[in-house]
Structures are given as C-alpha cells and as structure tokens.
Subunit: 482 residues, 2 copies
C-alpha cells in the first residue's frame, strides 16, 4: 500500500493554524538571501534587512556578559576552581555560578529537574517578583518553560475543551495566540485595540465582544492581554489595567497576561505594572481571580531568544486544577536547565556593589537607550510617508504602521490573488531587501492595512532602512496612486 498520510488526512486543526511571523515573506527572504550569496549582482541590494521578528541577537545585539559568564561556568563547573578562571571571568560571575550550582540537586546541570523547574531558581524568581511588585510571590506558583510559547500552549490545552470555548484576544495580536487556539480547537474571540487612541484597550469593547460570543453559544474562558503590546507597542496605563482586572473578576475569566516585554518601555510617561501587582493592589487575592503571567528570556534588553528560557506565574487556581497543570508540565519532563538558569539571572541581575554591576548597567542601558532611539527614528520616518500613519512605540520591539493603500494597488494585489498588505511587503522585500510582516498575520480592522516592523536592526543600519523604505514607498505610490 502507498503511504497514507496526505494533507487531506492530517489533523485539520494543524491545517487551520497560521503562523505569519515565519510565513511566506520570511521564506521568500531566505530564498533571496541564498540567491544574493550565490550571485551578488542579482538584486539591487547586498543584504536582507530583517525587521520581521523579535530576534535581537540575530541582528548583532550583544549578549549581556555577566549572564553568559555564569552560563559558561554552569556548563563546565570543572573550571570553577582553576586559577586561570579568575583571569577569564568576573569574580561575581564565579560566585553566582557557585551559588546556582548549590541550588541544583547534586549540582547536576545535566539532569532533568523538578517538572516546574529547579526549586532554588524558582525561589530567586519569586523573590524578584516580590521586589518588583511589592506583593508576595510563591516559588510553587512558578512553572519554568522553554520560552513563553510552551507556557501559552499549556494554558490553552488546559482551558479549551472544544470549539465552543472561546479565548478573548486582542486584534492585532501576536500570532502565537491564534495559532495555539487553532491547534487546540478553540475559538478566538477578537477584541479590537483602538488605533486612534494609540492602540487603546477599551473595557466596553471587551464587554461587547464577550456578549456577542455568548450569544453565539461560546463560553469565553480567558482574556489574553499583551502588555507592552505586540505588535502594537503600547504600554497600558494602571487605571486601564484595573478596569481589565475588574472585568475578568466579574466575568470569572482567566487573565492570561503576556508580560514578556516588561523591561522594554521607552517613554518616560509610561511604566510597566504587572497585572498581579495591579490585582493585589485592588485587594484581589488567590480566591478572587485566575491570573497567569508569562515572562521570557527572549525579550527585554537581554534578547536571549535562542536559550528558550521563561516562566509562567500561575495564581488563583484550586489545588486540584494545579495538579493537572503540574501533570502537563511533567509530560515534557522539564524545561532546559540553561534557560532556567538564565531566567533566574534576568530576574536577578548584578546589584550595586557587585563587581560586574557597572559594566552590566552600561550594557543594559546602552541597548535600551539605543532601542528607544531606533523606535523614534523609525516612527518618524513612517509618519513622513504618504498615506502611512504610525503610533508611538511606547514599549516592546515593534511598530505597526497603518498604510492607506491606493485602490489601484489593492486591485493589483487582487489580480495576483494576494492580500494587499502582503502585496506591499513582497514588493518591498524584492526591491529593497527589507522584511516586514503583513498586518493580516496579526489581524486588523477589516479594510485597513498594516505591517509590523521591528526596531531591532542595529542602529547604524537604520538610516539605510529609512532611505530605502522612503525611496521604495515613493516609487510604489507613483505607480499606484489613485
């Protein structure tokens, strides 16, 4: 018999799942890159400028020295006692590595850990959350994961029983959410962020969408909030967060708080507040609200995407439900120990008085201030382009400009059976080597068009991006202007 597995016979949920961040445009970009390497004169540009994904180190961002010193020492503890090590590594990285190894049963960095992660590292993380929020955090509430994505999948797997279960998600959203809901067979209940008010999150919109979902027979189980926003870059005001907590409490919804950009705030008038801090400051405790906060080592100023570290802090569930979350964590045994160690480090970096403190602060602030400048430069550049408006990047790593495409361009896109924003991004890539992700991958108000642009290319490349983009956009508009 011939092999039986065809696209017609695989899980339709897998077929339904979309993941634009690594979709068509990125595959095209990789193809162009290979062609340029083989034949540099093939295109009018010599390199692909990736603005498609929050992957800072792939674009030249340096890792934080202290973190990498500790990881190296934990990988090869045999050198800890050698005199040469004193010359190669900072004194506090050696001390920290020893401390971490003492926290690991048997000092075995090559062993599976507790399913939730090494207890000592969870103690460190819980203490850091307490220091950040001013409210208690319990190490037993921490589930360490290979980045935030597996944590999100775990919660979707727990909550979604069928297509009658809905998850309220922002539109635009990071497509991990739509992909995970599709894979687990649930229904994405969209709520629209208000572009006109800087991607504002209105509780009236949440209520409206919740009611509409209910009237369609959907049981809404959770609300996803991404703060700072991805792909939209807004930072929620504390008052707004209180209203969201109140809404979740009133409706008995799980608040899934994607807080992976908590260190990425670029404007002095905004500050990150964790949803747990906000809920606790309102007097709401374990018994009042289900709350899950996601954190990752991939974002912040550290940008350690490849290490796949992160955690979720799970509060407000009964012991019996917690057992099932624990079981889900157990089925994959544990997250990788290097990522676990790094998660403890980003939550507990060098402190005043530590040998590495000043160099650490210089590295951290260098990255964050440069990101703020890049965000501003790109935002200004977008706002100068005909038919493009762009909200401020208050936080995160992205801009999500809106493009008012001429009718002629929309028609040209339709003729090649392509979404108009994809049409624009594909042209941009082919003519300039710049990679944006079309807004349709994140969701947008029907009839509007956007794209996501990261602020991550190294600062010296930003002028070239602005120039190429500006020239391309002018040509594009000259060709298609109505």
């Amino acid at each position: 018999m011939a092999p039986q597995v065809t696209v017609d016979s695989i899980n339709p949920k897998v077929i339904d799942c979309q993941y634009a961040v690594r979709g068509e445009i990125v595959i095209l970009a990789q193809k162009l890159q290979q062609e340029i390497q083989a034949k540099p004169e093939a295109y009018p540009f010599q390199e692909i400028l990736y603005c498609n994904i929050g992957n800072p180190q792939s674009l030249g961002q340096k890792s934080i020295t202290f973190f990498r010193e500790v990881l190296a020492l934990c990988d090869h503890p045999a050198i800890l006692a050698k005199s040469e090590t004193q010359a190669l590594f900072s004194a506090d990285s050696i001390e920290r590595a020893r401390k971490i190894l003492d926290q690991i049963p048997g000092r075995a960095t090559g062993a599976y850990s507790h399913s939730q992660g090494i207890k000592g590292l969870r103690d460190t993380i819980a203490a850091a959350i307490e220091a950040r929020d001013g409210f208690p955090a319990d190490p037993n509430d921490i589930f360490m994961t290979d980045g935030a994505s597996p944590a999100v999948h775990m919660m979707m797997q727990l909550l979604i029983r069928s297509e009658k279960d809905g998850i309220l998600c922002p539109i635009p959203q990071y497509p991990l959410y739509s992909a995970s809901i599709a894979l687990h067979g649930g229904t994405l209940v969209p709520y629209y962020l208000d572009e006109a008010t800087g991607w504002g999150l209105e509780v009236s919109e949440l209520k409206k969408q919740l009611q509409e979902a209910k009237s369609n027979g959907i049981t809404v189980r959770a609300l996803v909030v991404i703060n700072p926003g991805n792909p939209t870059g807004q930072v929620l005001a504390e008052e707004n967060q209180k209203a969201i907590v109140e809404f979740c409490k009133e409706e008995g919804l799980v608040l899934l708080a994607d807080e992976v950009y908590q260190e990425n705030v670029y404007v002095p008038e905004k500050k990150f507040h964790s949803f747990k801090k906000v809920a606790r400051s309102m007097g709401y405790g374990e018994k009042d609200i289900h709350l899950v906060s996601f954190q990752s080592v991939s974002k912040g100023y550290y940008g350690e995407c490849g290490k796949r570290g992160g955690y979720m802090e799970v509060t407000g569930f009964g012991a019996d439900v917690r057992e099932h979350i624990y079981k889900l964590a157990s089925v994959n045994l544990c997250s990788n120990i290097t990522g676990q160690i790094l998660a403890s480090l980003v939550m507990s970096p060098p402190k005043v008085g530590d040998k590495s403190y000043e160099s650490y602060i210089a590295e951290r602030d260098g990255i964050l201030s440069s990101l703020a400048r890049r965000a501003k430069t790109l935002e200004d550049a977008f706002n100068k382009l005909e038919g493009i408006t762009c909200n401020k990047a208050e936080g995160a790593m992205y801009l999500f400009p809106r493009i008012n495409l001429p009718k002629k361009a929309i028609k040209a896109a339709e003729e090649v059976k392509t979404a108009p924003d994809l049409f624009y991004c594909r042209r941009l890539l082919n003519e300039t080597g710049i990679v944006f992700v079309p807004g349709s991958g994140f969701g947008q108000v029907p009839g509007t068009w956007h794209f996501r642009c990261t602020i991550l290319p190294q600062e010296e490349k930003i002028p070239a991006i602005v120039t190429r983009l500006t020239d391309f956009h002018k040509r594009f508009m000259d060709e298609f202007r109505d």
Copy 2:
C-alpha cells in the same frame, strides 16, 4: 463572580492523560526526602534511592568533558581568543566551538534559529546518520527539538484528528506515548510485547490488533516502536525489524521509531540498527514508507537530560505535509540552541587523532561498561527473589521484572483501593527508600504485575539496593505469602 476554572470545566483530555514516571510514587519519594532532611531518624534509611527515571546525572553520572567544554565556549565565545583559555580547555574543544560558531548565522548563540534548527548543525547530524547507516540522510529532514518528547507530541498532533484515529503502541510502553495520544484525543491501540520471549515483538500480534481496531471503526495511522525498549530493555533483531517495516509499508502506517537508546546496548549478541537503515536496505525509499526516527541527548552514555536536546528525522512525507510539520515547529520558534549544539556533538564526538579522543573514549566506555555491569547485577538479584522473574536488559536503561504477587497481597491492596503493583512499590519506598515505578504506569497484560527499575544508581550503591530490596521482599512475602 467567583473564578470559574475547576476540574469539572477543564479539558477532559488533560484529565484523561496519565504520566506515571512523575506520578504518585515520585511525589511520595520527594515528600520522604524532605522529611529525612528535617528529621534523619524518621525512617530506617538515610537517603532515597531513585530508580524511577532515566536521569543519569541526577544520580551522579558525570557529563562528558569534551561536550561540556564546547558548550561553555559557545555560551561565552569572548574567551575563545584568550591565552588562559588554552590552559583551561582542550585544543579540540576550542577548535570545535569555533567551527560550530561559524555554522551559526552571525555566530549568535542567543538568536532564534531556523525552525528546524541551525542548518550547519543539521548538516553534521545528517552526515553522522549517513556514517551510522550507510544510506544518505538529508539535513532538511532533520527537525531539532527540546528532547524527543516535543517531537513525539508534534507527530501525534499532526496525525490524530479524533478518537477514531488510532496509534499502535507497545504494551508495556513509555507513558509519553499514552499521555500524548490522550492529550491529542486519539486512541491508543495496544500491541503486547511477549514477555516469555524476552519482550518479543510479533508481527502476528500487530496484525491481530490492527484488525481488531479496524473492526471497532478505528483508523490506525501509525505504529510506535521503541528500540531498544523502554521500559522493557530488549533490542530488536534485524529480521524482526524488517518484518515490522514490511507491515508498516503494507498497511500504509507511519513508523514512529523511538531510537533514543541507540547507544545503550549491553550484550555482544545484539546490535542497534536504525529503522531507516533497515528500510533502505530492503530497497524502500521516500515513496514507500513514512518513517520518523526520534533521537535525544538525554540518553546514551551522555545522559544530558537537562539540556533538552534532540531531533527527529522525518522521511517519506509529501512536500505539502512537510510544510505543516514545519509550521508546527515554527509555532514554538525553535528548540534551545545549547541543546542543538549538544545534539550535533553526541552525533559527532571526538575522532581518532583528536586531542580529546582518548579521554573521551575512556569516559564513554567507563559509563557504558558500568551500566552493563549494573544491569546484570540487578537482573540477577531480581531473578533470585521469590516470585519474581526478570528478562535481560539487552539495552536502554531499565529492567521490567514481573512479580507474581500473592493473593493476600492483592487483597490487601484492594482493601486500600490501590493497584497491587503500586501497593508493592509504595511499601518498598516507605521501608527502604527505593523508588520503582509500578508497571500499571506502562501497561501490562491484565492480571500480571511488574515494576520498572532503572540501572542508573551509581555502581557503589547497587549492593545496598540489592540488599535492601532482598530483605524487604522477604519480609513482604513473609507477610503476604498465600
């Protein structure tokens, strides 16, 4: 409104999922360990002897020096050029780290990689598979994963559409399979390994179970084979493998080959053959059979469980199905880079002439020969116990002895609403500190009772395990003998 998520309202597939390897006995063991630490005189033993999980480094197995040197250097490449590094690290580890960094785009070990893993590392792995099998391997068929577990989940997610889709699994089996099938809502179609012939895998049994499943309206999509076996430790003969390949080809089934114990073979008369090599040697190529091979850095002589590295080699699927597998890999972005590097290292360790070669071989063979001795000692000890028979551990890391429990013991277990094998394991743990996993977690012929015992405690502890087990078993039989 009070929080709404209770055990009655979570995904029933999560409730159905069982994962014994980290189940009740292990939780009890952790509790005892804490009690002993607090109050050493509380129990007649001073330490818990974990024989429950294939986690060698948690029990004192040392990591392979060369692998850890390379990992440390890749974590902190800034020291590569320093003179002190020459004194601390072997020359070939420095050379290998440089080579690996050259294979990583931008030398960025902190960046997300290609969704399937870093291309250069996949080239290394494919070359190693070719060298192992004598048949071509394509780096584009390699999907690197955080250990083998996520790879298994990915294939289950791809193949299972509903409870009408079945997966043929060995009984006894490693509970990752039953857990993953339950989580994805499919049906486990059991086939029984024949204990009397050393856990033989009979194709007649496969055919029988396939027919029975079909007559129950189940579409069987895949066959899981674990070779060397977990928890059963047998190594399949090549002729047997050929018959299995033929069966999968005839029935159009995906052959899911769990080959994570490929380096763990302890008897001279048996040899590991990959299913891909067997299929290709029969003349079956891409168009003839769907074949997925799982490999992990957690097993072998390296036992690097905490690093969460591994890969699957996916062959025989059409390009359109492959795109969906790629998409599933993309949704989690990529596996951790440390694990990816380690997977390339275990598949391509030091070679004759390399500076580390001799010390590497000494470390490797020291571990493997000690594992073989431990397997034999434990097997012999089990076979000396009244009512216990134990097949040979030809490979893997486990023994799965059968215990002929007295009727009185079964009755006593029933009175406390406990499976008889769990009853035995719980008593054993409480009285000796030895942790076995009851056979019911792996599946067994109804009415028979077993437990899984790893061969991983350090060699100097084996005599104590044997003595304590022997004494306990005698007391147990004296209490319950019919």
